[in-house]
Amino acid sequence: MRGRDRIIAFTFIAPATALIALFVLWPVVSCFITAAHDAPLTQAELGDYTGLRNVNALIDGVSFRRSVRNTIYFTVLVVPMQTILALLLALWTYGTSRRKRALRLCVFLPTAFSLTVLSVVWKLMYEPATATGAGLFNGLLLAIGLEAQPFLTSTAQAMPAIVIMSVWQGVGLQMMILLAGLQTVPSRLYEAATIDGAGRLGRFVHVTLPGLAPTLAFVVMITTIFALKFFVQPFIMTRGGPQGATLSIVQYVYEAAFRQRDLGLACAAGVVFFIIVSGITGLLHGLVRRAEALS
């Protein structure tokens, strides 16, 4: 009887386990192996063992370092902007009035669209002003008598432009998570604070913020991971340009494999990326734990 139960349990878990082993765990292992080999795209089998040569080539190369710098720049801009904006919107729209519900829906709406669709639309909105026409933003700037801006075509403005679009797209989801978090803050704490003479700011600092800390830490964690993986926006809007100003790590990996046709180099970049992502995830997970202990 027990033997039969084990066989049944095995048939329940075997398909999922086998698929995850083949399509997630094995690729992680194979990424490390490939990174240490010569592996042209056109060749089905791995070439010679090259040790750290791919990793060294990566670190010596200008464009990989630039892609790391760009990815960090993007993350450092997006995470605080998006989290603070999401927090403000959540505090503002917390409640059941019709005005608040409508506003919440509007802020959340862009999350229901694909990044590809929104990148295409925003690229058209960011179009520079030329003799033949302008994008929506430059149209508005010209209409109110301001100077037209290059936006995505300028090395200085391209990344901030992509950051603004990304915050606009992603803030709704963060807001929703924070709203769910706000519901877990016990209302009796607010009453107690009010009796103790706390004002609005006092209630926010002493009740809302500590109560919301675990949710806030969680939001920071997932926003950071999302930001580190950014790819679609610059790939569609700028192809990583101008002059590599918006080249992300993921696009570097993609181009190493399919433009330079070097899978070894691409996997080496993948390994470095894996280490960056899991390192930061680990750090932030610690933050989430501490925030949970706090409340």
Binding site: T17, V121, M125, G270, F274
Partner: protein, 285 residues
């Protein structure tokens, strides 16, 4: 009582302005898709940008004429359907086993699987491509499109996150339901298939909806896998049409709207279904 009419009006106005900031690009996309190309360009300096006038459906016709829209749509629909159905078939039993059945190594295996949640596709896209590429020979037998659809769906059926989510839900179900079935002589399969699974409908709905959204919107993996225009997914089709001269903003926006509608529908229908099934379990409980 202390709140006068003017602050309320002011608040409403500020709320409306913020709401507009978030939906204006979406309105512009929708309005532009129904206007002649020249009007899209001419209106950028005025609020007419957001009004679909003069109205035309020509952009939609052009998008359909210049791309393999029907094929692309069918490919994407098949991929999301396969991921959702296949995912259910492999993830739900695994989640149930982790929640209810006893077998050696259960905790360790569960931890191992759950730890893969933090590995994003972006990190393993190239080695995964190398793994999937070993099956290229099959494409010569079954054809490019069927192979592509399988390559886009099969690797994403089993998902540790979905197993985790379903397991959490199975754990909240009262054991007494299944125990009653066992008393009636049912086996593990029957208890799972007839009792636990139907009762987990809200969690299953959530998982299906997540799969639909993720894979309808997926871009990187199709970019790596799809070869040839007829094998593309809808997002890839849009990205490609976007750079294909002659550039027509109106028809690009029309394509973008088409790429959004099925997802929006799934979202609306799915959400209602989830709320209903949640209400249903509430009544039973």
């Amino acid at each position: 009582m202390r709140r006068a009419v003017i602050p309320v009006l002011l608040r409403t106005l500020i709320a409306a302005a913020v709401a507009l900031l978030f939906i204006a690009p979406l309105l512009w996309m929708l309005a532009g898709s129904f206007k002649p190309d020249a009007a899209v360009h001419d209106d950028v300096q005025s609020l007419r940008s957001f009004v679909p006038s003069p109205f035309t459906l020509e952009n939609y016709a052009e998008a359909a004429r210049r791309t393999q829209l029907a094929d692309t749509m069918l490919n994407t629909a098949l991929v999301v359907l396969l991921v959702a159905v296949g995912g259910l078939l492999v993830n739900a039993p695994a989640a149930y086993a982790f929640a209810r059945l006893r077998f050696p190594g259960r905790e360790a295996l569960f931890l191992l699987l759950v730890s893969t949640i933090i590995i994003p596709i972006e990190v393993i896209v190239i080695p995964l491509f190398m793994t999937v590429r070993t099956t290229r020979g099959i494409a010569e037998v079954v054809g490019e499109r069927p192979w592509t659809i399988a390559a886009l769906s099969v690797p994403f059926m089993a998902k540790a996150f979905n197993i985790f989510l379903l397991r959490q839900y199975f754990l909240t179900l009262p054991r007494s339901l299944e125990e009653a079935a066992y008393v009636d002589g049912a086996g593990v399969w029957r208890a799972f298939w007839r009792i636990a699974l139907p009762n987990a409908a809200p969690a299953l709905g959530t998982v299906i909806l997540l799969d639909l959204v993720i894979h309808w919107n997926d871009f990187l993996w199709p970019l790596v896998i799809c070869q040839g225009e007829r094998s593309r997914t809808i997002q890839l089709g849009l990205a490609n049409f976007f750079t294909q001269p002659p550039i027509s903003w109106g028809s690009i926006l029309a394509y973008a709207v088409i790429a959004t509608i099925p997802l929006a529908l799934a979202f609306l229908i799915g959400q209602r279904w989830i709320v209903q099934s949640l209400a249903g379990t509430g009544r039973r409980g």
